[in-house]
């Protein structure tokens, strides 16, 4: 991608949320005293049950809701200023979109450019080039003429991802990006997320699908109206923290308590909410499905095993 002027700010790109409390008109406090800081080049998961304030927090970062107390700054700028620079892009949940609306894939992605166009919103060659590039990046260029309702679940997600790319959003908020997406598309999207991280962007992914989080996120915020934990995934994705966030809403599967006889004596628990299980090893450590890229953790586990071979 050709570097745009905004890209040069990527080094200083941060999302700072300090003491943010958001209340609705009916007095319901959706988020209380939330604080965290996201650094450039990271993928953050925002995890919590329904009603834990995930979407409220999203709307606050986008500037759609104003916090009662506290501040949100993006790249050091207030939300309103960041918004006028089109810094924050949003990939909505499928249910939020009117799929029968008479717009084509191309039209939707072009809407990402509106913040950077002139008064009349007439696309220039540069805008068209960026829309084409974004559509090619998500593999939807061949579908550009389709009306958006004629697409599959995964294709629909990719169109809105392309819109975020065309917007040149440096902070990309994704709401349940893998709902209704097939496994192959999911992997393609994860590859793209990693590429975006390498470009220095910040991705914040709201999800209640715990198992998918360690697959593609490097950091996580665990939310239950308050921030229960925020930090690197190995630190915050522990059994006790998730218990606190999810309460009785998790399914347990303990191998040593289960009917499985040959679990070779290791205390392993499988926690799952819906699709993917989340695996914790001995001592409450998070276990990953793949070792590649996590040699350090494998090494550490081996050492612990040698020190305490119970």
């Amino acid at each position: 991608m050709t570097p745009s002027p905004e890209r040069t700010h990527a080094d200083h790109l941060t999302v700072e949320v300090k003491g943010v409390t958001v209340a609705y008109r009916n007095g319901h406090i959706a988020v209380e005293g939330a604080g965290f800081a996201l650094e450039a080049g990271s993928i953050w998961a925002l995890v919590g049950v329904n009603g834990s304030g995930k979407s409220t927090l999203f709307k606050t970062i986008m500037g759609l809701l104003r916090p009662v107390t506290g501040t949100v700054r993006i790249g050091g700028l207030p939300v309103g200023v960041a918004r006028r620079k089109s810094l924050v892009a949003y990939v909505p949940q499928a249910e939020e979109v009117d799929w029968s609306f008479p717009v084509s894939v191309w039209d939707v992605v072009m809407m990402g450019r509106y913040g950077r166009m002139n008064f009349l919103r007439i696309p220039k060659a540069h805008d068209k080039a960026l829309v084409e590039e974004s559509l090619r990046r998500v593999g939807m260029w061949e579908f550009r003429q389709r009306q958006i309702g004629e697409l599959s679940g995964g294709q629909r997600k990719r169109v809105f991802l392309a819109r975020a790319l065309a917007q040149e959003g440096q902070v990309i908020l994704l709401d349940e990006p893998f709902t209704g997406v097939d496994v192959k598309t999911e992997w393609a999207m994860i590859e793209l997320f990693r590429a975006l991280r390498a470009e220095g962007r910040i991705l914040l992914v709201s999800t209640h699908n715990l198992g998918s989080v360690p697959e593609f996120c490097d950091h996580a915020i665990i939310l239950n109206r308050r921030i229960i934990a925020a930090g690197p995934i190995e630190e915050v994705f522990t059994e006790s923290i998730l218990q606190e966030a999810f309460g009785g809403k998790l399914r347990h599967f303990r191998f040593n308590e289960s009917t499985i006889q040959k679990h070779d004596g290791k205390a392993v628990t499988v926690l799952t909410d819906d699709e993917r299980p989340l695996i914790f090893g001995k001592g409450g450590h998070l276990e990953f499905s793949q070792r590649t890229g996590r040699e350090e953790i494998v090494q550490r586990r081996r050492q612990e095993e040698e020190e305490d071979p119970s």
Binding site: R25, L64, Y90, F101, P102, Y114
Partner: protein, 286 residues
Amino acid sequence: MIESLRVPFEYGYMLKAMGVSALIGGVCALLSCFVTLKGWSLMGDALSHAVVPGVVIAHLLGLPLAGGAFISGLLASVGMGFIRTRTPLKEDAVIGVVFTTFFALGLFLISLNPSGVNLRTIIFGNMLGISDDDLRQVIAIAVGCVVVLALKWRDLVLFCFDPGQAQALGLPVRFLHFLLLGLLSAMAVAAMQTAGALLVVAMLITPGATAYLLTDRFAPMLGLAAVFGAGSGFLGAYASYFFNGSTGGCIVVLQTVCFLCALLFAPKHGMLAGRARRRLAATLTS
């Protein structure tokens, strides 16, 4: 026979009526696309009634009718917003309460000054008796709306499709909201002369709904709606000469005929096409 069909074109007032009805019908049809897609049909109905007190007051004070209508419509929509955010009432109940209040106030004001404004004109419209002064106002409103739409239609499409994205991009969503309300109020007044307060809402919904069934791209939808709106305006006014009947009634009946045709014969969303697809699917699986 042919001779008698040409008769309406020989009268200045008929030419005027047909021309203005076509203009109003076309501009209302452009707006109807946004109304249909935004889900504001009930809102359009409400606004077309809520502008009446504003029109009456503006008329009594000798001010431009569009100004009075705009303020009246604005007050009604602000009132609806106010009640909706502060009560657990459903939106349709709020709209129902507010617009009938405004309409009742309008009727009351008219009844206080029977010589000022003609009640029949407001309720049923009077295209054939339009004064040159009103004519100029109506044309000015319609042209103004077309200019605003030409400049801002892309923003309004995004506002209708995804207001969250519009706001995230820093577009003035609140302004766009009131811009669309303002355009609706203004056209409601303009169309009141042609169709009357009772039927204005048809001109602000039906052409857009018809075009929606025929295409799934926005620009063609605008074009088709404008053709239906302008065509039915012109032909409706023309036909009303022969039936010696209400211009508004003729226009709206024509629009309904267009809608019914689209409902039956539309290539993709029409009922016949749907039936054909089901048959095809059945033969393919058997």
